[in-house]
Symmetry: D2
């Protein structure tokens, strides 16, 4: 954060920026994300709706594009500095990773960007220039850190994009790649039966901007083990988790799991899927922040939590948590 950062030798990511989803039924997906969850629609093109929540500072943190099949088009990360884009290109191409380039405006509200597949196919985008909502305009809140009007928010509405969770055939290897090439820091990890099962990584003081878990069984997704598990938005309190669950049930949606609390990250959660795209959303509150420059990753084993086969602290996850979105 400090203003004294000299130009780094290696490029860095500043934050998770947005997730671009594809849905076979845009209207139905908007009924979920906008009308029920309470994200605010901020822009629209012919086939794409853009949404954000109260403290999201960019043009959008979620886009929904109507396509034939559901999926994740890309996960957008903002670079720490403008000049980092080219440094990332250099670095990725040395690894023989194909990098495609987008010119300014090709993605609504965004400047130049690069896109590439992280190992095993996770679709990443990196950009720096981005359009920001002007908090001074008439429609916005009197509280200037807010980018949507608090007045329009429904009960339990999210306040900001928090993190993504991906699944990978080889979570340990994918984690190493993210540390080495994109500068992620490992904050917590979990060994299940002696093997690294999951890793929680960040480029910010959050315990995770990205979680990566291992998914060896390729049977359920046409042999594509690499999957998008969920996107997570933050709500303010446990009361909001219940208020959101209530709105979801009143609107005919089912829940996947929760309310509950993870042992890892200590976040309190509610999981559900948007039926048209089958994409999973987590609403999330609590947790902690890491300000130590020498944070030692927290290691968890099966014995630590004391419930065999699970790593929840309060509540449990079950079979309904399994289906996810292959790319």
């Amino acid at each position: 954060m400090g203003q004294f950062n000299s130009a780094p030798e290696r490029p860095e990511l500043a934050r998770l920026g947005h997730v671009a989803l594809e849905t076979p039924d845009l209207d139905e997906s908007l009924r979920f994300f906008r009308d029920t969850i309470g994200l605010q629609e901020t822009d629209r093109t012919e086939d794409t709706a853009f949404l954000r929540s109260m403290y999201d500072t960019e043009h959008h943190t979620l886009s929904l594009t109507e396509t034939d099949t559901a999926g994740v088009n890309h996960i957008g990360w903002r670079a720490q500095r403008p000049e980092h884009l080219e440094l990332f290109v250099d670095q990725l191409e040395k690894e023989d990773i194909d990098v495609s380039r987008l010119s300014a405006g090709e993605e609504r509200g965004q400047g130049e960007a690069i896109r590439f597949e992280a190992p095993n196919g996770h679709p990443f985008e990196i950009y720096y220039d981005v359009e920001k909502p002007d908090p001074q305009t008439e429609k916005e809140s009197q509280l200037k850190a807010r980018r949507v009007s608090g007045d329009t928010l429904v009960r339990g509405a999210p306040t900001r994009l928090d993190h993504v969770h991906l699944r990978d055939r080889d979570g340990a290897a994918a984690t190493e790649w993210l540390e080495e090439h994109l500068g992620f820091q490992v904050n917590e990890f979990y060994r299940n039966k002696g093997k690294r099962w999951g890793t929680w990584l960040s480029v910010t003081p959050q315990p995770h901007d990205l979680a990566l878990s291992t998914h060896e069984d390729t049977g359920d997704s046409d042999g594509r083990a690499e999957q998008f598990h969920h996107v997570s938005y933050r709500v303010e309190t446990e009361h909001d988790l219940f208020a959101a669950a209530d709105r979801l049930r009143e609107n005919g949606y089912k829940l996947d799991a929760g309310p509950g609390q993870h042992a890892i990250t200590e976040g309190k959660y509610l999981y559900m899927r948007e039926p048209a795209s089958d994409i999973r959303l987590e609403l999330y509150t609590g947790g902690y922040l890491i300000f130590d420059p020498d944070w030692e990753p927290i290691e968890w084993s099966d014995e630590d939590i004391g419930i065999a086969g699970d790593h929840q602290w309060i509540g449990e996850l079950d079979e309904r948590m399994k289906p996810t979105i292959p790319y």
Copy 2:
């Protein structure tokens, strides 16, 4: 946060580390901070008690030393890297600021450190090496990010040190010095009748690790306008603000102000003073985080909030908020 940070040309602070208070009655101050507020006593020397809360990762975030008069001995900041200590010394001595050195262990739980007065007398300390509680020991929580047992926590107990608020004869000049010499970033500021009245600065993604407000009137403190206004700890929800207020009242303490919400930082607050030392504590929840590398400071004027002479959003501050601790 990223691991690719090259060695910076200029030293940086990683975080607010602790506040060292002096009190004429240690037992009475412990009745407040430990027995009522719910900080946990982690160590004790002959004249000093050390305390921390649930997610505080260092030996202590608050120390209470019994002395003849109440006061603030120093405000401790942790450097981003070990080698930054000497870089800070160089930089401060170029400004003709006296820097004193502490050897390892001179302050309990802490390695080498430097101390100096920021302009107008604010007593700062910078250190890197610090003893950390081992989350694996028997007394600690099963949730490994916690550094005290959640089981021992009372209703409304704080979860981590959040920020300090200082007052200065010339807040605008002091702010510039903090930006230039210690690398603070200005996140929000407030002009009262055209003049910079207050500034909210940070070295982390928090909207403030340090707030600095202008206090021209020197009449109330032996001509020393430079003052410590309050130290702030975070609680989890609005319910905790009420639970803490309840405990305070049951134990015979009065409140200064709140519960309420600031427009600036959007934090929800409760203020009170510890009677033996007259030092003010804020309990704080909510707010937002700044992950943008190009954050534009939010500017507030009197007209913005719409309540003349005040900048609160919910609730009001009054005369009781005035008395503070000169150094």
Copy 3:
């Protein structure tokens, strides 16, 4: 509640039913009570809007009628049984109190009713037959105890009508009359400087359905000391008090007081006034219930709370709390 109640010798009230307000600007009053506070409009006649909240079981709990001047038309109480109406008439006429009669439907959604002035002019209504919202209709919630759709509720919206607070030149005498003629039970009272200042009464297990405080000074209301101080709706948590305050501020409304907590009734509060009518609303949460058949009234003196001139537990009331609505 039990089903074995034999026909009582004396009539009883079952509950506070509704408050009928008059406003010089119906649209503006609806912007407050419906669009900002989140009561739901359930019916409308030419000059009157009817509103209720989530668990209100009758046609309305608040009506707003456009008239030349603001005021309280009446406070409606539901009788315990149909035959109690005539028993109340007999009882009141023995006291030489004028009783007027309304035929069924004269007040929208309501059967036969009687109206009269309690001593010193408080305008009361008693009815038994009332139209009830059908929880099975399409618009309503899937949760059948709810009478409005939870889905439509805004952040911090009330869940039910709770109580009214009246002011009286002689609160002690008025209290005695309410006990003797309408069957109210005294649950708590407060002596200020040796004199009964306020009384909290109920016909249900709530600590108060009606509070009555003493207001000797007739200077501010054309010599009419008898006043309506506020109507109170319940919200679910402290978080809702803040969420409601937030919505009010975003919509340009000021607050009178709070968030805070009363010592008496232990309710947590937020006070504000609707600008067009100047009528005060309290949002209220917490408190306790009385199931003991032999409850001893709680007596409070100035010394009990320990803050001279006030009886709040957390937070304070101030000058802004004074103006009220004379009948």
Copy 4:
């Protein structure tokens, strides 16, 4: 509640008073109910500990007696008036139900009482005279409606006894008996596959003081289908449900289910069992109150909630919820 109640022709219950449990390990049961859950121990005899929570107005609401095997000794109900005890005796003896009498003091803190088995063996007690904690004594709270010091309460501690849930071979018949002989009112009921599965009854404005569900399978309890399912205490908010769950987990206890929300009664819940006695406790918040004298019971069918085989609104109950305590 009203003071005009004439002497009824038939006796009435005022409230659920207490539950008397038997445990094979009193120390271990106290570690759960007192040290972890946060009930306050108020009295002790050689073999029995007595506990209550913040707003419980009697000597105790839970007793724990050390015996060879776990069980429920009795469920105590307070009569509406002193003279109702003999009226209940007359009524029960007409039904050929054996009634035993306790003299004053035989149960600590209680006057004369009667005990009998409701059909199918539910062990009930009725009393009127009971010792009440004096809120004015030194140990108690400054808030006079509280019967334990708020200062001593741990995070998530209960605030009052709420209800009991019993299981019966023939829940429909048992319900009718409770309506006819003890004056309970049916507030909600649930038909599973066309048959009355559960009923929620009260003698107060709560949606249930007693729930009764059908349990036909006698295989798991020595042929005794009649069982005690759980005792329920109220906490204040959803945050408290999580805080209590946290304390339970830190102290090595497992949870049975929750946090979640029932469709019926709308209460939010957390379930767990005390390991020594295997008795289940529910922590409970939210819900609604019934002030209508003509409340129509809410009827639920499987289709209403939309989740086959379950009647939860948020979260789910599972196999772990089955084991209960036969008398």
